[in-house]
């Protein structure tokens, strides 16, 4: 209840608060809806997972951070060794290990393949040097999965490997990046002469790009966020009934504002159907496709429109910091940038759907 209030109020959660919800789901056996039963998951259909997520978002449940359950785990299941599966997957399920994602670098954002963090083989371990950035909640993390350069020959994509690095290793430094809403979610992660056992390499050396692409496909599908959008829309409608316009009548009675809300209602309806259509396609294909890029764009557009209109409902009262609605508006400018910017998503659509 108290957790829900914090989520609805748009406050940043502590690690312990995230974990409390994680453990609750773990105890019910619902923490990994997409995983096979053999690894302790629910093995639900994509549609069922989607319904579960929507309900969680609607109810104001804290998000389950995707980095362990949705991102590194599928890679370990598909490409990792049996030893890695036994070592890491149960701890991801239980929440004992918090994972973060070491992909982006200062010089490698949209152009991820140009990454320069290098890992040199020294007998039984790799020596890793470089810098990762935009690392979400790295200050909570026990482990980071990293894309590192292990070869310089050939195309840039061909010399990348996928390494699992203990955040407690000597040489790992986390520095906060403060966002425009004043919050601390993302970090720089510096890796200086970090020794990583060869046993922590996933799959084969120099094949990391394939695994990374596999992971990114999984990441995008989760981004439409229709559940929490439905909750935000409900909150906006309630706010419009309470908030007085300049003429003293509720904003909900102002046709100009009412139309703006109504348009977002239509957008959300369209996105919900779109989401189901893409899920059905994925079920038929047994793999995420480029259509996930449509969901990423539409979902982030709607999230931004909703946070913006909610801020607008407050008029100049929204200027006062801190303010949940305004903070969320500023915070969600990230939605069209992270997980492959919407420009990159349009490139994917142009190339892989339109065939340019």
């Amino acid at each position: 209840m108290e957790l829900r209030n914090k989520v609805v109020a748009g406050e940043h959660l502590t690690k312990e608060e995230y974990l409390r919800w994680h453990r609750l789901l773990f105890e019910r056996g619902w923490i990994a809806p997409s995983w096979p039963r053999a690894f302790g998951g629910c093995e639900w259909s994509a549609v069922r997972q989607h319904i579960f997520e929507e309900e969680c978002g609607l109810a104001g449940a804290p998000g389950i951070m995707p980095f362990g359950i949705r991102m590194v785990a599928p890679v370990i299941m598909k490409f990792g060794s049996a030893a890695q599966q036994q070592r890491f997957l149960p701890r991801i399920l239980s929440g004992e290990d918090w994972w973060c994602q070491g992909y982006s670098e200062p010089g490698a954002g949209s152009d991820l393949a140009s990454l320069r963090t290098r890992a040199e083989r020294r007998g039984g371990h790799y020596l890793v040097n470089g810098q990762k950035t935009w690392t979400t909640l790295a200050h909570y993390a026990d482990w980071i999965f990293c894309l590192v350069r292990t070869a310089r020959e050939g195309r840039p994509q061909e010399g990348i490997s996928f390494l699992l690095i203990d955040m407690r290793s000597p040489g790992v430094t986390v520095r906060p990046i403060i966002m425009l809403d004043g919050g601390h979610e993302v970090n720089e992660v510096w890796l200086e002469n970090v020794e990583v056992p060869v046993a922590n390499l996933v799959g084969e050396e120099n094949k990391g790009w394939t695994y990374a692409k596999y992971l990114l496909g999984h990441e995008r599908t989760g981004n439409a966020g229709t559940g929490f959008c439905r909750r935000w829309l409900g909150e906006l409608k309630a706010l419009a009934r309470l908030q007085a316009g300049s003429d003293g009548r509720p904003l909900a009675d102002d046709w100009r504002f009412r139309d703006r809300i109504t348009r977002l209602e239509i957008e959300l309806m369209a996105l919900e159907v779109m989401n189901l259509r893409v899920l059905k396609l994925e079920e038929e294909r047994h793999a995420p496709g480029p259509e996930a890029s449509l969901l990423k764009i539409m979902g982030s557009d709607l999230q931004q429109a909703l946070t913006e209109l909610t801020m607008r409902a407050l008029g100049h009262d929204g200027a006062r910091a801190p303010q949940a609605a305004t903070g969320r508006y500023f915070n969600f400018r990230k939605a069209s940038i992270y997980a492959g910017s919407n420009e990159i998503q349009r490139n994917i659509i142009a190339r892989h759907i339109l065939g340019f």
């Binding site: 010089g107 990046i177 100009r256 008029g315 009262d317 200027a319 910091a321 940038i337 919407n342």
Partner: protein
Amino acid sequence: MFTLTDEQRQFQESLQRLLRDGYDFDRRRAIAASEAGWSREYWEQLAGLGVLALTLPEAHDGFGGGAVDTFLVMEACGRALLLEPYLATVVMGAGLVARAGSEAQRAAILPAVAAGTRQLAVAVYEPGRRYALDPLVTTAQPLESGGWSLSGAKTHVLNGGSADALIVSARTPRGVSLLRVDAAAGGVQRESYAMYDGQRAATIRFDAVRIGADALLGEEGAAAEAIEYAVDAAIAAVCAEAVGAMSALLETTGQYLKTRKQFGVPIGSFQVLQHRMADMLLATEQARSMAQLAASRLADATREERRRIVSAAKVKVSEAARFVGQEAVQLHGGIGVTDELPASHYFRRLTMIEVAFGDVDHHLGALGALLFD
């Protein structure tokens, strides 16, 4: 739209130099984080350069400048993201005193504003009433002794926490009046807060504040027009500020696109991004046209004409501010949503300008009413 005199041009250059050299990003950040949220040292420099006196009447230590001069100052403020309360003290406060005040009130207040020793705040908005300008909860009852007893509450009072004197709208027996209240008077409770752009505003409560008979600004019950004019002047001023901020944001975004490399080339070499910059330039220049129109007609237009131009300018500038701000952040990518580069700071100020003194919907309604009712 308007041509500057040689004097205005020289003034613009020296002001821009002062802001560029003395008001860099880190300095500004430190000022924003300070208790008051503005720098007295900097305020004194602005006074020394004559910026504070520029638009005040010559009879009271001013230079007698007009709305075009305000435009020049505010445009420079926008470029520098100035935190010092020029808008509240000079444009709104001193503007109201010069327009509605008695000779004695002008003589008491304006020279001190010009010298930088006195700050003002104008309190016209009330809690829970959005952009309505007619006072409802704030009332002033005449006292038998000849003074007034002021009670009520105001919100979104720019510079309300630092001002020495407050100019407060209140309902009095004959209508809407303006009263000058000493910020230190008994019964005045000020709660200052930071806005998302780092500027400060306050919510102020008045609990049977006793003020003298000489505190009335203009005639009792006849202040509505002066309040409306003061807000229109403030809107014209923030339109100019937004234009300055958008121009600077365009430049810094253009620089970023020319230096940030991905896929082996500067990302500014992608046509799709160039076109977005072109659209941002279009929006900025349209906004500049409307901001110039508002500044050039503020003083001499009829009331209806002025209201029409100012609301139209606020709609156009707010929409441009939103578009340019959001796009600049997006074109910067991840670094754009951090506190680390100027882009997000311009975006925050532009967003605050959007919702200040009536948002787009408010002014669409106001303009529509003028066109059709």
